[in-house]
């Protein structure tokens, strides 16, 4: 029972906090890379980030084990965050 609760807690954390990190990374990455005016890019990125958040949560609970759940959140988050930072480097 305890193990089960820990597993649920781990996934809930991955979904809620990890999902938010993923959504934020997606918003930041899209905001700088989308080929539109900056206000448009930010608006589109912000809206899409909620879709990314929801997909992240679904992934966390749909996948086989907690490791895959965390990897599926943090991996893309790191990738998107890296792309955002790459734009910073290119732009400066």
């Amino acid at each position: 029972m305890m193990r089960y609760r820990l597993a649920v807690f781990s996934r809930a954390t991955a979904a809620i906090l990890g999902g938010y990190a993923l959504a934020s990374a997606a918003a930041a990455c899209l905001a700088v890379w989308l080929p539109m005016g900056r206000a448009d890019a930010v608006t589109a990125a912000q809206m899409l980030s909620f879709v990314v958040y929801a997909c992240g949560v679904i992934w966390v609970f749909a996948t086989r084990n907690a490791w895959r759940a965390w990897a599926g959140i943090l991996g893309p988050a790191a990738l998107l965050g890296g792309l955002f930072l790459a734009h910073r480097l290119v732009a400066v």
Binding site: Y4, T43, M47
Partner: protein, 569 residues
């Protein structure tokens, strides 16, 4: 509950894990979401509720040009040194001229903004009983009467759970189309709740998805600052770039007379071929004054937060800046948020909004009840912890589902029964709402066995009393409003009566269910699980298909009457 750790990946595993996610994501914020859905539904009739709650005000709207001239005369006399003026001209929905002005240096303890309502015919301020009117429901819907910004965050988090619950609910569903026609109230118990939940959810699915997603989009600047901070130095830079109409300009600190606003309104209405929504005057009486005219948000779906505007120099009346169109992306956002606010919806569509939104409210309510129904079937006798969680959730369900409705009725009753000149009466109206809800929760935990029938009965009685008390305390009751064709007053009273009937019917049902022994008790567990699966698959089999079409009709009818409460046409 073991679904989260399924051993066999693949389709069936996905469905089970999504069912688990749907169950829990829906439960945690279920009660908050119920209150949000209900108050949000009422907020579609925000001005009409306000009008019902101030029955002494009976005025006719005037054309915008004339009303703005009246407003300018009043403000020049009473608020010449205000920092900003806001003027909302009368409309069919809000027949008063609404003024708001910002006092330059409010004394400690005084409000920075003063609100005045003028009768367009006389130009005089109208005095009526103090009430928050429909604004209470509108505010509660996204702030939950909690301090800024916590209430908004809480409501948004609940909204995100809702979005997850909707998506996981869709994935859980095997035969989304077949379930559409499946309603078997005769089967009773969990099956009927499941069918009801499915019908309400699937029928309104586009609306539920839209309203949940757009609710998040409305607060995206607050909720998701990362995208803004990636590009801008601060969020204000972004908002002033997108929402140009709200620009605040500094004063030049040289006195100069303000130009007549009415001709500018005429010019703007010509240009738009549309209605005026709001006038904002920055620094009136100063050489740096500006006058911003905003088009009526009801003129277009995408205008919710981004209506076209024209800005004029406040001294010369020369056009400084205007905006009619936005980029495709911003218009998309405008449509999404505009759909949520529903301000464009004319009477028929507004009623449709209201009814589908009540279906959403009922979707949340049936989902909460279904949690109990499913769980109770699986519970082993003698499991005390299980019994505790069942009691807790069931108590919260009854205390909230019936309690919030009772609260709404209590607020309307307080509006009529508190003395009209009582100081702080608007605060007590809102307290009546929370006291009624709180008492319902207490009752639900004290009287475990009778809570549903009693609380539903109380809610029904309170709703039925609203038109009665209205008739006793005002001269705008159904006997007058119906013959006069006063549909704001009549519609409100009739909606209360219809809701009362609906809740009385549910109370009777609850009382009958209590007397009848649980029907499924004798079945072995495996057979019951099969039955649940069959509930989803049933329509595919021939005997069920024929039978399923008939119940679909009562389902639709009762959905129309679903959970309505105090409202107006």
């Amino acid at each position: 509950m073991k679904a989260a750790k399924h051993k066999h990946p693949g389709e069936e595993g996905l469905r089970q894990s999504m069912s688990w996610l749907h169950t829990w994501a829906g439960l945690i914020f279920g009660w908050v979401l119920f209150a949000m859905f209900l108050t949000g539904s009422l907020a579609f009739f925000r001005p009409e509720i306000t009008r019902w709650m101030q029955p002494e005000i009976q005025v006719q709207p005037a054309p915008a040009v004339q009303a703005v001239a009246t407003a300018q005369r009043y403000l020049a006399e009473h608020a010449p040194d205000a920092k900003r003026w806001f003027i909302a001209p009368p409309s069919d929905r809000e027949p008063l001229i609404q003024l708001l002005y910002q006092v330059p240096k409010p004394k400690p303890g005084e409000r920075g903004f003063v609100r005045v309502k003028l009768d367009a015919a006389t130009g005089e301020p109208v005095t009526a009983r103090q009430t928050r009117g429909g604004d209470f429901f509108y505010r509660f819907h996204f702030e939950l009467e909690t301090a800024f910004p916590w209430g908004r965050w809480l409501a948004s988090i609940a909204g995100m759970f809702m979005l997850v619950a909707i998506i996981s609910g869709i994935i859980t569903h095997k035969k989304i189309f077949a379930d559409f026609f499946t309603f078997r109230p005769g089967k009773g118990g969990q099956r009927a709740w499941m069918d009801g939940h499915n019908v309400l959810s699937v029928l309104g699915l586009p609306f539920h998805l839209m309203i949940t997603f757009s609710g998040l989009v409305l607060f995206m600047v607050m909720l998701m600052p990362a995208g803004i901070q990636a590009v801008y130095d601060n969020p204000r830079q972004f908002t002033s770039e997108v929402f140009k109409a709200n620009k605040i300009t500094p004063p030049l600190n040289q006195p100069a007379p303000l130009v007549e606003i009415a001709p500018l309104v005429e010019q703007a209405q010509q240009h738009w071929q549309g209605r005026l929504g709001r006038v904002t005057v920055n620094n009136p009486g100063d050489a740096g004054a500006t006058i911003t005219l905003l088009r009526n948000v009801g003129d277009g779906v995408s205008y919710g937060l981004l209506a076209p505007f024209m800005r004029f120099d406040g001294v010369t009346g020369a056009l400084q800046e205007s905006e009619d169109d936005h980029s495709a992306t911003v218009v998309t956002t405008g449509v999404i948020t505009g759909l949520h606010l529903g301000l464009f919806a004319e009477p028929l569509l507004r009623w449709f909004y209201f009814i589908v939104s009540l279906a959403g409210t009922a979707m949340v309510a049936t989902g909460l009840v279904l949690w109990i129904a499913k769980r109770r079937q699986k519970a082993r006798p003698g499991d005390t912890r299980e019994a505790f969680s069942l009691r807790l959730v069931d108590g919260l369900n009854a205390g909230t589902i019936a309690g919030v409705v009772f609260g709404v009725a209590a607020l309307f009753l307080a509006n009529r029964l508190l003395p009209a000149d009582m100081p702080g009466r608007q605060v007590w109206e809102v307290r009546a709402f929370f006291i009624a809800w709180g008492l319902s929760l207490v009752y639900a935990f004290l009287f475990q066995r009778r809570k549903w029938q009693d609380l539903l009965g109380i809610a029904a009685a309170a709703l039925a009393l609203v038109p009665v008390v209205n008739a006793l305390t005002t001269d705008r009751h159904l006997g007058v409003s119906l013959p006069q064709g006063d549909w704001v007053m009549a519609g409100f009273d009739l909606t209360c009566l219809a809701s009362a009937l609906f809740f009385a019917w549910m109370a009777v049902k609850a009382a009958r269910a209590r007397k009848a022994p649980a029907r499924t008790a004798g079945k072995p567990r495996a057979a019951r699980n099969e039955a649940v699966k069959a509930a989803v698959a049933a329509t595919a089999h021939t005997p069920a298909t024929a039978a399923a079409h008939e119940p679909a009709v009562p389902a639709a009818v009762h959905r129309t009457a679903f959970e309505p409460r105090g409202d107006t046409p």
